[in-house]
Amino acid sequence: MRSTDSLIVRYIARRSVPFIQLYALYVLGHGEDGPGGGFQGGVIFASSFVLLGLANGWGYGRRAAPARLLDPLLPLGCLIYLGIGLAALLAGGAFLEYGALAGSDDPEVRRHWHHYGLIGIEVGVMVTVSAAMATLFFEMARPARVQARVDRVGEEADRA
């Protein structure tokens, strides 16, 4: 997508990014006390890059969230989730039994670790969701000019 011609729109979009991302982290952190959580936070976090791409052009947004950064983040979130589950298993509890992460039977300590586990999996969800949403946008919105080059590279690699 081309960038908009309006300097004001481009500037406001750039300056909004940190606030959107801060709000996304707020939504993530307050999922236990109010509406929100990793999924919503991840979507909002990704929307900051979508806004950059829409207002300042595809290339500008892509440079802020390049594929070599987003691609590893996609499975990383799943691995965080899985890792916390397996860590609970190794600590002697059931799979995803966050309280077992404490490694002690004190209910107070277990309650704390339960919080950490829950926030941990929410972080995992957020990482995967935000990377996935941004990737979906940047892959689909890729300008025809760039897409043609992508296709040519692919065809040449097919022939080789």
Partner: protein
Amino acid sequence: MEDLILAILVALALAAVRLKDLLGAAAVLGAYSLLMALLWCRMNALDVGFTEAAVGAGVSTVLLLAAVNRVGRREQGPGVSPLLKPALWRLAEHRAALAERPDRPLLSARTMALLVVGLTAAALLYGARDMPRIGDPAAPANRAGSVAQHYLRHAPADTGAANVVTPVLGDYRGYDTMGETIVIFTAALCVVLVLRQAGRWRGPKEAP
């Protein structure tokens, strides 16, 4: 209030189907999702409303815009006018042209579609009569001993979270949420594989 929102939702859905301008249709669908989010909030399903607003009205609309950007703004093929009268006129013409063909089917595709949609709607309306009212204490989901009651009673003590939705997603249904995360990962993976020529594109280094 709900009736008003539902009426607007039906009108928006019809507009989205009938609009030839795909950009306009995408915008209408965004408005549809936003009203849906409002409806969820009226039902006290704040987390669902939040997700609907962020995903349905936000990211989905942008993804539709990106798709429109690729395929072109106008819908191809024989069109349906947003005005009912020209649409009916064209339908009559279409039927007349079809009737002259020797190999005409007993029912046209449109009639079949209308039949299927009508039957499905009738079945859904019939089923909806048995739906309990929202918050009805006699509803199966709210009866004593149901799993929802168990969550509501025990979640704060079990997990220390004030918002019951998060422990349900993360604790009681932790396996499901992990599966959902993997589904989202898979969806993004498929889009990358299709649109990036099986990973041969080395990222945006050559991009402008």
